[in-house]
Amino acid sequence: MAFYRGQQGSVKFDDAGATAVAIASTRSWSMTVEKESLDTTALGNTYRANVGGLISGSGTVELLYTASSADETNLFIEHVNTANDEGTALFELYLDTTGTKAIIFDGVITSAEYTATVGEIEVITCSFVSNGTITLNI
């Protein structure tokens, strides 16, 4: 049975929504895909009934600050400051180094936390939400 370790993952991004490229110095990523539940319980039922509703995703990417410029890593950490964001940026979150097992979606970066702490490497944490279809190739 094959298991994977966290360092086998990676993150790709393209602000233009075309061809995603690797984001440098990514330390971690996480994503939660949620489905709303719609209560369809009828009067007189003993047990509650639910059906699935809208699906959405949200998560975070944590990366180390490297002063990169003029590349997708720089666009990624500054993308929260984009005006009129139509949510067309392409995200690809990979679980394996071969680059085939991924969660792919368009999304919006909703926050970026830039931190500098004495004695520690500077870290940027970007949060995102999905826009439209989420493809799970995992």
């Binding site: 360092q7 990676s10 690797a22 110095s25 990514t26 330390r27 990366l63 180390l64 180094t97 490497i121």
Partner: protein
């Protein structure tokens, strides 16, 4: 990018000390695995660099990823016995100032510990203190 050259890192650390202690007043300095027989009642310094923990810094495999390399430097300062601590601490300050929060060639030096008096000097016959500090450097694969 390539795997870190530990010998280059060692040379960076040791070279900094060797250059400083070559200045007036010059003080003999010895490093790991070097023969040295100290003259009785003399002043000299021993610098020992060791590499320790390596940690994952970023996601990725053997390319496009980064590691953290942490090490420790122990610097023993020997001065004549029975002459008080002043001369020893003066050298200690020179050494402490040399590394304190300094970043050289990608090597980040942390604030030093000491100079701490060593109760049982080795070799005997000297007044010994020790300055210790950790350092961190980053490996880009």
């Amino acid at each position: 990018m390539a795997a870190a050259n530990l010998n280059t890192i060692r040379a960076t650390i040791e070279g900094r000390l060797a250059t400083e202690l070559a200045l007036s007043p010059a003080i003999p300095v010895v490093f790991h695995n070097q023969p040295y027989v100290p003259t009785p009642n003399s002043t000299w310094v021993q610098c020992l660099v060791s590499f320790g923990a390596n940690n994952y810094l970023t996601l990725g495999g053997t390319t496009g990823s980064s590691n953290s390399i942490i090490g420790v430097i122990a610097i023993n300062i020997f001065t004549p016995k029975g002459a008080g601590p002043g001369a020893n601490l003066t050298i200690g300050k020179r050494i402490r100032d040399l590394y304190n929060r300094v970043v050289v060639s990608g090597v980040h030096f942390d604030p030093p510990i000491g100079p701490e008096v060593v109760a049982a000097p080795a070799p005997e016959g000297f007044f010994q203190t020790q300055v210790r500090l950790t350092f961190e450097t980053f490996e880009d694969l």
